[in-house]
């Protein structure tokens, strides 16, 4: 019983810290920090997903910002594109397939409207607007991400080492180029005026100052949930299979583990984590830009996972929150990218198992109360 319960300690610690931080900041009238902490939470979701993929399953991904962007842009586009503009819908339909296309587009809109996922509103000029309900857009974002992750993952995960790294890098760059080069995605300016995401019981993901505390808890509740799911997974049969794959693919296969399937599942799950982060942040920020898909962003996520310790979800969570928060506050100023680059190099050179490895191993031994395990794994 003991090992099973002990692994939830980091989760409890997380919840405690989240509540403590908010209480302290509100008391000290420093609530504006909550904004960056909320943003850091959504970015940390990406890092958590990547930790599962890189740290536990051992598959490098240099393009994970791509999934964040796919989630974010899908949600942003669907909640801002005005389907009522007769020009837009009919024109798109007509361009696609003539008169039948235009009629088809109209029918599609009618169907969506009947499904109740469209939202009416008025734009700045008093014209009618028709956009997709944020809930539906969110679901669509996850669906699109899942489809892309599976289509990309199946061929990519057959690769190893440099080839896998480059393939994921290429994927990320393709997403970035498409984001910056396509009109519907706002090209270099991205998409703005993304509406709030009304959840339930009066809660909404939105950047409004009045809802700051609420959004902080929404974001961190998601991170906590994501963390909890991860803890569960790692301690389960599937989690062990992933770690076995990371350790030795041939041996894992010989033990009955369907390696390609497990890798794909880990890839898909980590992509979904990133997409959730993107799809939510886009409503909090009210917009998204092509920079979110950049190589630099992908490298940052890798740096966060590496520093936190490849195989440590808790470490990744801590490091990601801290560094992302500092970066968002501008603590690194002009040297932001350089700092992440330097951190990456330093960690990989001197502490490839992450900063917490020596400390963590010591704490773990304390928790287990055993003196037997001499030296951490290499």
């Amino acid at each position: 019983m003991r090992p099973t319960l002990a692994r939830y300690i980091p989760f409890v610690v997380l919840v405690g810290l989240v509540v403590a931080a908010q209480t302290a900041l509100s008391a000290l009238k420093l609530e504006f920090y909550l904004t960056q902490l909320t943003m850091a939470a959504y970015y940390t979701l990406v890092a958590l997903g990547l930790c599962l993929l890189m740290g536990y399953a051992g598959q490098v991904s240099l393009g994970h910002a791509g999934f964040f962007a796919i989630g974010g842009y899908t949600s942003a586009v669907l909640t801002t594109v005005n389907l009522a503009a007769t020009g837009a819908a009919a024109g798109a339909g007509a361009a696609a397939g003539g008169v039948a296309g235009a009629a088809g587009a109209g029918a599609l809109i009618g169907l969506l409207s009947r499904l109740g996922i469209l939202v009416t509103g008025t734009d700045a000029y008093g014209g009618q607007t028709l956009t997709v309900l944020p809930w539906a857009a969110f679901a669509a974002a996850l669906l699109v991400t899942a489809v892309v992750a599976v289509l990309v993952g199946i061929p990519v995960l057959r690769l190893r080492g440099h080839y896998l790294a480059m393939a994921t890098l290429a994927f990320g760059v393709i997403v970035a180029r498409v984001a910056v080069g396509t009109r519907i995605f706002g090209e270099a300016d991205g998409i703005s005026d993304v509406p709030a995401f009304r959840l339930f019981a009066g809660l909404a993901i939105s950047g409004k100052k009045a809802l700051r505390v609420q959004n902080y808890y929404i974001a961190w509740a998601m991170v906590a949930a994501g963390f909890l799911l991860l803890i569960n997974l790692i301690g389960s049969r599937a989690g062990r299979a992933l770690r076995a794959i990371h350790g030795n693919e041939a041996a894992a296969s010989a033990m009955g583990v369907d390696v390609p399937r497990h890798k794909l599942a880990a890839f898909l799950l980590s992509a979904l984590y990133a997409a959730v982060g993107g799809a939510c942040l886009v409503h909090f920020n009210g917009g998204i830009g092509p920079g979110e898909a950049s190589v630099m962003k992908s490298v940052r996520y890798v740096a966060l996972v590496a520093v936190g310790g490849m195989g440590s979800a808790g470490g990744t969570l801590a490091v990601s929150t801290l560094l992302t928060f500092l970066s968002l506050r501008g603590a690194f100023g002009q040297l932001d990218d350089a700092v992440f680059g330097a951190i990456l190099v330093a960690i990989m050179l001197f502490a490839p198992d992450g900063v917490f490895a020596p400390v963590g191993g010591w704490i773990l031994r304390l928790l287990r109360g055993r003196r037997g395990a001499r030296g951490a794994a290499r």
Binding site: N232, S236, R237, R240, A244, A251, A254, M255, A377
Partner: protein
């Protein structure tokens, strides 16, 4: 048919080559249930390749391999494992960053069912199966006398102990056929003797063992039957004493002495 003399594994017309090298040249043999059968031969004879072909990590160019009557040639390793064939590796391939118990629990992967979804939900969905697997794996460790090492980091153990852990991991799936790839490799005589005892225990439990091995004392001491390979061909098959007396076998090992 007598349960004990039922054919469990049947290899026939097996051919495999790497590039221009014909490593397995028409090998044919069968293995009855419940025995220990050894595959021996000089270096380069193709013994490990043969094992890899049976275990599924290689797909034979031609030929057939039947396990309990069902063809298994060319099916991927994880499906071979699901059918009840388990294996160890010549150089131990324990999983790093995992404890001994966790290594063995991966060994029993085929005896579990919960996947990603259940895994995410956690103990509510997986608790019962997890407890059963953990209990069964601890029992395996116990039987092999290494229960006290359960929480140890597997790859940090001394070599001889790692070998035993590999055994435990292979046994955790409750296989019907166990493939051992040079289990005595790198062990001293005393450790080799222990391995021999271990193999005898395994046989006593009704598990069939196919062992590739160089160490003659182990082979002759523990095997019921022996197959001798040379340059990818089977040159002899029979009981240990029959094979020992076979002239061709002797010459292949010691070098033909032309009059």
């Amino acid at each position: 048919m007598n349960e004990a003399s039922r054919t469990l594994l049947a290899v026939s017309g097996l051919h495999h080559w790497f590039g221009g090298l014909h490593v397995i040249d028409g090998v044919e043999f069968s293995c009855r249930q419940g025995i220990v059968k050894a595959i021996i031969g000089p270096n380069g004879a193709g013994k490990t390749t043969l094992l890899n072909l049976i275990a599924g990590s290689l797909r034979p160019r031609t030929g057939s391999i039947a396990f309990d009557g069902h063809p298994i040639a060319g099916i991927p390793p994880h499906q071979v494992a699901a059918r009840g064939i388990s294996r160890t590796f010549q150089a131990t391939r324990l999983f790093p960053r995992m404890s001994v118990l966790e290594n063995v629990m991966v060994g029993s992967h085929v005896r579990g069912r919960q996947g990603f979804f259940a895994g995410l939900i956690g103990p509510a969905a997986t608790g019962r199966e997890e407890r059963r697997i953990r209990r069964d794996c601890m029992a395996v460790l116990d039987e092999l006398g290494i229960a006290d090492l359960a929480a140890r980091d597997a790859v940090s153990l001394p070599f001889g102990r790692q070998r035993v852990v590999e055994f435990a991991r292979a046994l955790a799936s409750q296989p019907r056929l166990l493939l051992l790839d040079e289990p005595a490799c790198g062990l001293n005589p005393k450790e080799t003797e222990e391995i021999g005892g271990l193999i005898a225990d395994i046989r006593a439990r009704g598990i069939t063992v196919l062992i590739v091995e160089h160490d003659m004392s182990l082979v002759m001491g523990i095997s019921d039957e022996v197959v001798v390979l040379s340059y990818g061909r089977k040159i002899a098959e029979g009981t240990p004493s029959e094979v020992q007396a076979n002239h061709e076998v002797v010459s292949v090992y010691l070098g033909a002495s032309d009059a």
